[in-house]
Symmetry: C2
Subunit: 318 residues, 2 copies
């Protein structure tokens, strides 16, 4: 691990929050008596499904775009993303009056492609694998001079995602644990930084589908293991953990738990039926993990980040 | 029309709100920039899908139970209902420590039967028609001595439903129009009373599926026409308009609009996709009517009551 890596500070996260506030929603925290009874603890759901573009990714993208120099803004921004970061960057760019080029895998959900176009992004399709994504992105950047804003392995993006936990702490709740899903690690990394700066004793727990468990394996082997051939219904968590994200996670995250797709679907149904809100499958991974390890959280105050609500309604698993 | 009919007053509605406050949620009002752009006006969605038991019916049932005498409470309450009133009354009774007997049609959605049992109600099944419901109910009442709490044609219930609009007006918004779905007419009647007492110039508009348009036909023929063989996806609006409800509607409602099932599904999808909330089909009838008559509401402030969120997730129409 690179011991010299400088992570964003609490002051910088607070500054990022001020910077992006005009462009994002302060999302509500919801509670469900019925789910609390089932879980045996008190859960505070941070509803990033109600966030702009329907996902927490609006935070990181807004922060990264706002920190560009005037010179960089002239040529726009570019990225590759399976979905929510794509829409978030397209929107952040359009709001700032600059261009955005979005490399998307050809099998990305239709609703996410539609969103990117709706927010004014230019889509460049590629084969659905990491190498094709990176090659295509490189071509786009060479051609346009756009600045690459990575979906998660990028401190300005992590700093933006860290503002989500900041809002949770501003509610004055003394969380015993905060749980977030982990894919690339932007949300989990940001959540861990904010939380450990504010309350070192609070457990920060990453939650991952068993079918895309590279963060789990990396965490316990203490070396970054990329994900190959991920397979899970949680389409927002298919990506491999980023390098910076891994370093933050090794230093600030307490544990990573994995759950099966069946457990994810069960938790997802519970959220739809009991909370009457629309979430994407990735969101229900933390609740699934909590229900799998009820004893561990007994009578605690647990924060769960519901990361987004962009789901193909025609493909709900129930 | 019976000119002597005494409707509940604004003071009584306010007293009902105080009476039921410990037992219900004050539900949030949500807005969607995306839907406002499509509609060309400013819409305030009152989210009764987040209400206890997942529907506004919690209000009327709580009020009716709270107003029972100690003598009446001994034998419990009974009703017939295709769904939400059933769950609402079962819960209100259990919270008050009394018994409830619920006559339900055999084809009622599974999720609604499960809810009634979960809230402690005793279900008595009957054939899915009004005559069977009423006969079965009569038997239950004779056998148990329970007090019949009708789902909508009952002033204590209407008074409870009227508290929903009261909360909307307490937000300080100057609504040009308030729209609510109409089935039996409890919600629309209560909404009309509260609204016209507080702001006579605000239009109150009932919204109905074309496949169950008895309120529309009754309103324009000025006589109560019962619904026969209703057919619509909006399963909460299959019932015929009640007598008391009809009288309130003739006196206080400005118009009734009808929409096709296709229009209902389109509006429902818009709410799921853009607002990320779960609603039942009946809820999307007012938005469908607004989108069908955009010109009429141009640039206005419109309140829409989203009546409930109890939907069979396996049977979503998209």
């Amino acid at each position: 691990m690179n011991e010299d890596m400088k992570f964003t500070s609490l002051e910088e996260i607070k500054a990022a929050h001020k910077r992006i506030q005009p462009f994002i929603h302060r999302t509500p925290i919801m509670k469900s008596e019925a789910i609390n009874q089932i879980a045996g603890c008190e859960i505070f759901f941070k509803c990033e499904n109600f966030q702009k573009v329907g996902a927490f990714k609006a935070r990181g993208a807004a922060n990264a775009v706002a920190k560009l120099t005037e010179e960089q803004k002239k040529n726009g921004v570019a990225t590759h993303s399976s979905g929510n970061h794509a829409a978030a960057l397209a929107r952040a760019a359009t709001v700032a009056g600059i261009k955005s080029y979005i490399v998307m895998p050809s099998n990305a959900p239709e609703i996410k492609k539609k969103a990117v176009k709706g927010y004014g992004g230019e889509i460049i399709e590629c084969e659905p694998n990491l190498i094709a994504r990176e090659t295509t992105l490189q071509e786009v950047v060479s051609r346009t001079g756009a600045t690459f804003i990575p979906p998660y392995d990028y401190m300005d993006v992590i700093e933006g995602q860290a503002t989500c936990a900041l809002e949770m702490w501003e509610e004055g709740i003394e969380f015993d644990a905060i749980m977030a899903p982990v894919g690339g690690g932007g949300l989990l990394g940001g959540t861990a930084l904010t939380t450990k700066y504010i309350s070192p004793k609070t457990k920060v727990i990453g939650c991952e589908p068993a079918g895309a468990d590279d963060a789990f394996r990396s965490f316990y082997s203490r070396k970054l293991i990329p994900m190959e051939g991920p397979k899970t219904i949680a389409d927002g968590l298919l990506t491999s953990l980023g390098k910076t994200n891994f370093q933050i996670i090794m230093q600030y995250v307490d544990d990573i738990l994995t759950v099966s797709d069946e457990e994810i679907i069960e938790a997802m149904r519970l959220i739809y039926e009991r909370m009457k809100i629309v979430i994407e499958p990735s969101c229900s991974v933390p609740l699934a993990a909590l229900l799998k390890h009820k004893k561990r959280f007994k009578a605690q105050k647990v924060g769960i980040i519901l990361s987004g609500g962009n789901v193909d309604l025609g493909k709900l698993p129930f």
